[in-house]
Amino acid sequence: MSKKNNNEGKKIPTEEISRREAIRKAGKYAAFTATSMLIVLSPKESQAQSPTPRPGW
């Protein structure tokens, strides 16, 4: 096997990274930024209406 072929053998093409591997890598990253991956959303507590007129205007 040529040197060139050996080098190609070591390189793992992106599409060949297993799903588990990808999750593991993402997990390690997430370990340090866990809270940055959370977003809290609050709906309005009551129905609201857009800009309304003020008297005398």
Binding site: K28, V40, L41, S42, P43, S46, Q47, A48, S50, T52
Partner: protein, 400 residues
């Protein structure tokens, strides 16, 4: 001191709170993400997949040893790092979800707020389909907040009416009473909530549905071809109302330009027959199709520096149609036309804080399911012709 005989009292419900961890957490999918919904406090948490188990454990008991073990396993970290992650997550949850929100009404105390029952109220009757509303406004401001949007539905006299609304205004506060029952009170600075509740009560009465029978009321414009609805979202001033009026001038029907209700049972978008608010910079373009706008009364809101007129919508039949797509719109001069699919999570993040979504667990579940099946688009435009053509195509075949 005893009140004058002509004075009257409204009994308001004042909530007192106590800490509680009885809220349940419901988990839904949102594309690749997860949504955790906290009942009782009506908050949505968007998280990476697999985080739900961890959040639930922390929520139930932050001292649970299983949390650190789960962090170690999930993130493949050592004990020290796992503890740090746990502490960060607890801090985040306490700060963003629990804090003073870790509360729910414990008991309701009745407090009497005095509103003078003034004799000089402005009396109006409105007819919406077969329903006649009798509304008394206690001040000019109370009237101006609500009447202009429904002025086109006013009838001169009515011997009989179905519902009696009364808008009180005293000592810097508004209150709304419907058929003798208080629905709430608001400071003058929160008058947009009085407007919202006034509209909500009308919506309930004309559809004969209670508040819990609505999935939500969206800060959106709804346009229909008679079979489906496309909902347009955007910040105030993004051009939703103008876009609605332009589409109306091109043969489509406007369900609402600002207060768009979705019924819970079948997730159908309903008409709300309030007038469309047209901002000053759109008078010219709207007057080409609706010349009457030139002579309409102009209003101004100095707090928001907005000048506008109301364009009546005379079709008030009870139309309920399914939603076909959500479009996040932005009118921007000289941009031509851009229409693209939008990231679902981003759409969710924009939609939720700008809407009233029912706090009922069944409705929250239906809301997320409903949202999940709708395509989301982003529309940035200045080319009205292209915009109309694209929206009509979207109605016809769902493609663009």
């Amino acid at each position: 001191m005893l009140p004058e005989k002509s004075d009257r009292f409204i009994t308001m419900k004042i909530h007192q709170y106590k800490s509680s961890r009885s809220e349940k957490i419901y988990t839904f999918s949102l594309g690749e993400k997860q949504v955790l919904w906290f009942s009782g406090i009506n908050k949505y948490l968007v998280a990476q997949p697999g985080m739900d188990e961890l959040i639930k454990l922390i929520w139930e008991n932050p001292e649970n040893n299983a949390i650190v073990e789960l962090c170690k396993e999930k993130f493949e970290v050592d004990e020290l790092q796992a503890n740090k992650i746990k502490d960060d997550l607890i801090k985040y949850i306490e700060g963003n979800i629990k804090s003073d929100n870790l509360i729910q009404p414990a008991e309701e105390k009745e407090e009497r707020i005095q509103f003078a029952d003034k004799k000089n109220t402005t009396k109006k009757y409105y007819k919406i389909n077969d329903t006649i509303l009798f509304v008394e406004y206690e001040s000019e401001w109370a009237k101006e907040l609500n009447h202009p949007k429904f002025a086109h539905l006013e009838i001169r006299t009515a011997g009989l009416f179905h519902y009696h609304f009364k808008v009180f205004h005293s000592a810097g506060q508004f209150a709304l009473e419907v058929d003798g029952k208080s629905t709430g009170s608001w400071k003058e600075a929160d008058s947009h909530f009085l407007g919202g509740k006034f509209s909500m009560q009308i919506l309930q009465k004309i559809n004969d549905l209670e508040e819990k029978e609505w999935l939500g009321v969206f800060h959106a414009a709804g346009v229909t071809d008679g079979n489906n609805c496309i909902m347009f979202f955007g910040d105030s001033g993004s051009g939703k109302s103008t876009l609605s009026a332009i589409l109306m001038a091109n043969g489509l029907d406007v369900l609402s330009d600002d207060f768009l209700p979705v019924e819970s049972k079948n997730a159908l978008v309903c008409r709300f027959p309030a007038a469309i608010s047209i901002k000053k910079n759109a008078y010219e373009i709207i007057s080409k199709q609706f010349p009457e706008i030139i002579f309409s009364k102009e209003y101004h809101n100095p707090d928001l520096n907005k000048t506008f007129k109301y364009l009546p919508v005379f079709n008030s039949d009870k139309l309920k149609v399914p939603c076909k797509a959500l479009v996040f719109v932005q009118y921007r001069k000289n941009t031509g036309f851009q229409f693209n699919e939008m990231n679902r999570e981003e759409a969710f993040r924009k939609l939720v804080p700008d809407s009233w979504i029912s706090p009922e667990p069944e409705n929250a579940k239906r809301f997320v399911n409903w949202f999940n099946q709708l395509p989301c688009y982003r529309l940035t435009y200045s080319d009205n012709t292209k915009m109309v053509e694209t929206i009509k195509n979207l109605f016809n075949n769902g493609l663009f």
